[in-house]
Amino acid sequence: MPRRNEQMDELLTGLREGYNPPPPTPREEMWAIIQSRLRATPGSGVHSMDEARRARANRLHRPLGWVTAAAALLVLGLGIGRMTAPESGPGPAVAPVQNPAVLRTASLDHLVKTETLLTLVRADARAGRVEPSLSSWARGLLSQTRLLIDAQGDADPAMKRLLEDLELVLVQIVGVTNENENDPARVRSELNLALDGIEERNILPRIQAVIPASPRFVGT
């Protein structure tokens, strides 16, 4: 074993010197570009967390007005259908939506909102706490995710799988936000589980791959 460790040390020494050895930092060149980028985005100044959230919500909601309305109608319809469906009788409680284009638009709109939540949760997690306001947001998205899963039927298996993975992650996030704030260790542990879930299921890259690069969906 000591021999093995010696070999590993030699290996690491070799790598420190030989693996992508960084050149001197081009400090001034990079600063010049950073400054020009900061100047090129007036008003990109510093915002508080709440301001950032409000700005983001505004950016998302303005161009997505009609899509949001369509999605809300769809979800409402599904919800009413679910509540008023007879208890007995064959077939699923909610019939798959007949128009795949509408369903896909609603799903994409939903994914845009969920991506925003996941990004904020990840940012909060790095600071070691979760904003209490995320709780109701996560719950709402979880309900919509479940309704959309039911509505998918066999229309789009890939989207259905993504929504199912998303459901699991949202359940974890709701679990985190349910935790007692007086027990930060517990919150932290739950948060790590949720983050591992996001990472292991590759959720954010999958969402980003699905969302089209249309201006309607920009802002993510």
Binding site: G18, N20, P23, V46, H47, M49
Partner: protein
């Protein structure tokens, strides 16, 4: 006054702030007072406060204190100077835009490194989603049995072996073994538990040992 001082310091090629906070100084620790400059009397946290109000000189002081380490990390991860510059600039621009979200729960440098790592990993995914380092965890077990077609030198084999590590192991390995980040900071940067960081490092070394069995014997 700060601008003047920074100009003078840049002329000498060294910045006192760089050596001080290059060692991940906590925001609660005062910088060394080596000059009549008030900026060096400020903690990172105080500099962030000033930068939040739009003070680019304070932001420049934060940049000077941290850019070396960020650039080194980016370069180690991508192995290309142009890309490393891009990612470093992106990270600092992102930091400027998100200063309102920095709560001071961790050191500024830790928060900055987490943003830099996120920028690099997302950037690499965008550049080439199908690179071999994106292979899944399941493939990691096959690493040691991958046949080689040529007989490269030891240095090439080392590089090839590190490049071949799955991303989650490679990132921890580069940060800990090559750049000397502590596990606590790596865990914060990646949004995982400290134990997870340690486990990933252990697995990364195991994979390297497996892959480099032959090369390590040559070292002996």
């Amino acid at each position: 006054m700060l601008r003047l001082f920074l100009k003078r310091e840049r002329g000498t090629g060294t910045l006192p702030g760089a050596t001080v906070s290059g060692r991940a100084v906590s925001h609660g620790v005062k910088r060394e007072s080596t000059a009549i400059n008030w900026a060096l009397e400020l903690t990172d946290f105080e500099l962030v406060e000033r930068a939040r109000s739009g003070d680019q000189a304070a932001f420049r002081a934060l940049y000077d204190g941290n850019v070396d380490r960020v650039f080194r990390l980016c370069f180690r991860m991508v192995g290309d100077e142009h890309q490393a510059r891009e990612f470093t600039q992106d990270a600092f621009v992102r930091v400027w835009e998100c200063l309102g979200q920095f709560r001071g729960d961790s050191a500024f440098s830790t928060w900055l490194h987490s943003i830099a790592v996120s920028v690099v990993l997302n950037g690499l995914r965008k550049v080439d989603r199908h690179r071999k380092r994106e292979r899944s965890l399941e493939d990691a077990g096959q690493l040691g049995r991958t046949p080689r077609h040529a007989e490269p030198g030891v240095a090439d084999r080392l590089k090839e072996a590190v490049e071949g590590l799955p991303e989650i192991y490679r990132t921890v390995f580069l940060m800990y073994d090559l750049e000397g980040f502590p596990h606590g900071e790596i865990a914060e940067a990646l949004g995982v538990a400290v134990g997870t960081s340690k486990a990933r490092l252990f697995r990364a070394r195991e994979l390297l040992r497996e892959t480099l069995g032959e090369a390590m014997r040559e070292y002996a």
